[in-house]
């Protein structure tokens, strides 16, 4: 961290022309990341962006860092190998809902379970963009698309619930209409020593325009987004008149603060070991049409995978000394022929 040269946003932008559709939410996410990077105190050459396939997956081409644009769904697996081989690097994984929850769902689950030191940004636009508008694993039931002319019959994933169910240590949610909030969440993800998962509500203005408009438009945010702040009672609304409680059945529930009193509100504890409250919060909203929590759901530190792997290597070298090829070849019974 010492002597990291001062940089500006422009230093983190590559020379490649950005080729997302005009008006795509990906632009604002890219800007937020490029604005944040100079503040993180890291070198460009120590930073790697890895992606799979999809619109979001073009992201690495636009960052003036090291990067791999991989194959569909496999970004977390590529990144796991790199992070294990090179624990000194800052590795970011970028992908969409199809990339990371459909074809690559398995790798996302296992990278979270293992707690590999990755910053995983899942751009959720609830649609397949690059293949021109089929429904995705986060599309709502009934969604009419090219591949579901009679409406989707698939139950969608809730990405935050999936991450929490996969033993994720750090889980957050933000949206592409609030640059400062994105930067805050991305910074938290970067600072977290382990797998950090951030769902970003992202608007696809071509194939699923306005999917999150009911909750992310400026005039809707106060009443429809529930900010999660560690150590504070969970409340929202123009006047903070709404709040969240855990009801007797154990579920999170939106209430009028006036009805229950502030002391009844759930005080958010992102460091709580038991993920059940975080999970309850993730189930508060059935979709982007009712009040939806944003912020850090969970940030619980535990052993990081690459560091543990490195520890075992160091221990083996301490116990048996650095490997010697001659010794290895003679490690089984040998005999001489003269």
């Amino acid at each position: 961290m010492t002597d990291v040269p001062t940089t500006a946003k422009a230093d983190w932008a590559s020379d490649q022309e950005v080729r997302w559709c005009p008006g795509c939410g990906d632009y604002s996410i890219l800007t937020a990341v490029q604005l944040l990077m100079p503040d993180l105190g890291v070198r460009r050459e120590d930073t790697v962006f890895i992606s799979g396939i999809g619109c979001a997956a073009r992201f690495p081409y636009y960052m003036n860092t090291y990067g791999i644009h991989g194959i569909h769904g496999r970004a977390p697996a590529l990144a796991t190998g790199l992070a294990m081989a090179r624990p000194d690097l800052h590795v970011w994984v970028v992908g969409g809902d199809g990339d990371m929850l459909s074809i690559g769902g398995n790798h996302l689950l296992h990278s979270l379970r293992r707690n590999v030191n990755l910053n995983i940004l899942l751009f959720n636009n609830q649609i397949y963009g690059l293949t021109k508008g089929q429904y995705s694993p986060t599309s709502e039931i009934g969604k009419v698309t090219k591949s579901t002319p009679a409406g989707s019959i698939d139950e969608p994933f809730n990405p935050v619930s999936v991450a929490l169910g996969a033993e994720a240590s750090f889980v957050a949610r933000t949206h592409d209409m609030d640059r400062q909030h994105m930067m805050d969440m991305f910074r938290r993800a970067h600072d977290f020593p382990g797998a950090a998962f951030v769902e970003v509500f992202q608007n696809c203005n071509v194939f699923n325009d306005g999917a999150f408009g009911a909750i992310t438009k400026k005039d809707k945010r106060a009443s429809m987004l529930i900010p999660l702040e560690h150590g504070k009672p969970i409340r929202f609304g123009d006047e903070g008149e709404k709040g969240v409680i855990i009801n007797p059945q154990g579920s999170a529930q939106v209430v009028d603060v006036a009805d229950v009193g502030e002391s009844a509100l759930l005080v958010h504890d992102e460091t709580r070991q038991d993920p059940s409250l975080a999970f309850a919060l993730s189930r508060l909203s059935a979709g982007p049409f009712e009040p939806t929590p944003v912020g850090v759901f969970r940030a619980v530190e535990r052993s990081e995978y690459a560091a543990e792997a490195s520890k075992q290597l160091a221990m083996a070298q301490e116990q048996s000394g650095p490997g010697d090829l001659e010794t290895l070849l003679h490690s089984r019974p040998t005999w001489e022929v003269s």
């Binding site: 050459e45 294990m84 090179r86 690097l89 070849l329």
Partner: protein
């Protein structure tokens, strides 16, 4: 027989001996065979082994499906196969006898555990009458030994429960064979005490059973003679007994050491490749990182990610796993990064025969990706040679920045042979140079890094690893412009890149060893052309034919893509070319297509390797045709 046996038996000398141990999966036959092999290796015999076991860990006890066998040939001269027909069959139960008897040479020796031949076991094996008494073994020399009863008896005073004691009966069998064939006993006794040092009762029971087996041979007045196979006259040096998977693992470690690049193994458990993962996970003090991934795809992706980070990324698997890794191997072709994909081939298609050998993944290695995506292919040909095959595959991957497929198979993986250990100082230097500075000057004088600017000699692109200042760059699977590496969809550029990727692999032909050619090189009437694990059987068959005065040559190919530059001349030189392989003629098709010669395929796809005898028969047939 016992009436006339002398009190002290004589010793007869054998040039070679093939023993087949067979029993139930739970009887420890692999261990017994392995111990007999180790003792013979330390004694100085040449040897080769063929373990054969069912895919089920514990198939129903006493059934034909549950029979596990281990064949070993020991000799006083150089050999290359585990032998065709065994001279001796050790059968621990009726199922083993029924299943394995067909392999035995006519008049061979059968040693059975008499105690297992009870009605229930006979029925399970499908015998209507007891083969030990009904005359069906009259053409063999039969020894009925109450192995279970004696083992239980000698374990009585040790405090071992009778049921546990019975489990030591394989050591009784080993003891008996050790005595009968004059093998040294001490290595086995030492091994037992080392292996079971934390389970004293087990060590005591195994030792007692082993010694009882030896004593039985000596005192039971069953056997007229003991036999001896004298040490082989092998080249001077230090030897160890090694199987293919171990040799291959050590080759990977050696490649990493010689390249001064850390080894990263991404792998998913699969028979018969898992032992490489097991072996390498014990080599952490060499800086080897092993990662048991969530699936085959993650395993190869993690290896590729590690290669991007400057490690030697390796993934080990079998054919079904390679099928899953195809897309990632294609990505590696596009990224032009070093990557080793090791395929320990097994019977296919689909789950096929997980524990049986086959070499039918050659076309998969050649073409099992979409688009024009050439990959160099190296094939190992003997268990110990897997070490050098791994070194060579790694050399090509590192030098030419390309994925390389290394083909082995179940026969090489589990088969073992004595290996004259190489001097470490004689191993090749594989040092890798990473890019450290910009390689291109823009029109405005700016120094920049172009990730696809190539070395004019190797056509390899620079390997610039994250952490290197000034060389930040992005690579991906989308078609790219040569030099800059920028995304490029232009027609001309794609044509150029496809040709370039082809040429840079083809070009490696200039940097590989000439074809191995042996036998009657100048005047052979038949060339036997092989690749992979057929080497042992072909060598043995060709040696036999030549000893009979027949004119035969043997060429063996270790580089299947690109092919050695001299191979065209070789296959055109001989009137007849025979290509034995454990598939339906995949290599033969390549030879015919590449060189327009009328090569004849000799396929065998039965899950078992060629025998020298059947190849010899085919060679003579071709000569007399």
């Amino acid at each position: 027989m016992t009436d006339t046996a002398p009190k002290t038996v004589g010793t007869r000398e054998l040039n070679r001996l093939v023993v087949r141990f067979a029993g139930d999966s739970g009887d420890g036959m692999q261990l017994t065979g392995d111990r007999f092999t180790s003792a013979s290796a330390l004694f100085g015999n040449d040897l080769a082994t063929l373990p054969e076991f069912p895919a089920e860990i514990r198939a129903p006890q006493g059934t034909l499906a549950g029979v596990s066998a281990f064949q070993v040939q020991v000799s006083d001269h150089e050999i290359t196969t585990p032998g065709d027909a065994p001279n001796v069959l050790v059968a621990m139960n009726p199922a083993a006898l029924r299943k394995e008897l067909a392999y035995l040479e006519m008049g061979g020796t059968v040693i059975v555990n008499q105690d297992a031949f009870v009605e229930r076991n006979l029925a399970k094996a499908g015998y209507d009458s007891d083969p030990l008494d009904d005359g069906s073994l009259d053409n063999y020399t039969l020894f009925k030994v109450p192995m279970t009863a004696i083992t239980k008896e000698v374990c009585k005073g040790l405090g071992v429960k009778p049921r546990d004691a019975e489990r030591s009966k394989n050591f009784f069998a080993l003891g008996l064979l050790t005595w009968l064939y004059s093998r040294p006993a001490q290595p086995t006794l030492d091994w037992i005490s080392a292996k079971f040092k934390r389970q004293q009762l087990v060590a005591d029971a195994n030792t007692a059973a082993f010694k009882a087996g030896m004593a039985f041979g000596e005192t039971a007045e069953f056997f007229d003679f003991t036999y001896e196979v004298r040490p082989a006259l092998l080249a001077p040096g230090t030897y160890t007994n090694v199987n293919g998977n171990t040799a291959l693992s050590w080759g990977l470690v050696a490649a990493s050491q010689l390249a001064k690049v850390p080894l990263f193994l991404g792998s998913y458990p699969i028979t018969p490749a898992s032992d490489i993962l097991h072996e390498l996970s014990q080599r952490k003090n060499f800086g080897v990182r092993t990662f048991q991934a969530e699936d085959e795809i993650a395993a190869v992706c993690a290896a590729l990610g590690a290669s991007f980070g400057g490690h030697l990324g390796v993934t080990t698997t079998s054919g079904p796993g390679v099928a899953l890794k195809g897309e990632t191997i294609g990505l590696a072709v596009s990224l032009e990064l070093p990557l080793l994909v090791v395929n320990i081939q097994r019977g296919g298609p689909s789950t096929g025969l997980p524990t049986k050998t086959e070499s039918a993944d050659l076309m998969q290695a050649m073409y099992g990706r979409h688009g024009e995506s050439p990959v160099p292919i190296v094939a190992a040909y003997s268990p110990s040679q897997c070490f050098f095959a791994a070194l060579e595959a790694a050399r090509i991957a590192l030098k030419y920045r390309t994925p390389v497929i290394l083909l082995s198979d179940g026969y090489l993986a589990n088969g073992s042979e004595p290996w004259c250990l190489p001097e470490v100082a004689t191993l090749p230097d594989l040092t890798v140079e990473f890019a450290t500075s910009p390689n291109h000057t823009e029109a405005d004088g700016a120094e920049v890094f172009w990730p696809y600017l190539r070395d004019p000699e190797t056509m390899a692109r620079p390997w610039a690893v994250p952490g290197t200042p000034g060389l930040t760059h992005r690579i991906g699977g989308i078609e790219k412009e040569d030099g800059t590496g920028n995304i490029n969809y232009e027609a001309d550029n794609h044509g150029h890149m496809v040709t370039l990727r082809h040429d840079r692999v083809a070009h490696i032909a200039k940097d590989i060893a000439p074809t191995m050619l042996e036998g009657d090189i100048d005047d052979a009437e038949v060339l036997v052309l092989g690749w992979g694990s057929t080497w042992g059987a072909i060598t043995s068959a060709v040696v036999r034919a030549r000893a009979e005065g027949r004119k035969v040559a043997h060429a063996h190919v270790t580089h299947l893509n690109p092919l050695p530059e001299d191979l065209g001349d070789i296959v055109r030189r001989y009137p007849k070319v025979l290509v034995p392989e454990m598939n339906l003629g995949q290599f033969c098709r390549i030879i015919r297509a590449e060189f327009l010669v009328d090569a004849q395929s000799l396929p065998k796809v039965e899950g078992v390797p060629f025998t020298a005898a059947e190849l010899h028969r085919h060679i003579i047939g071709a000569l007399d045709d």
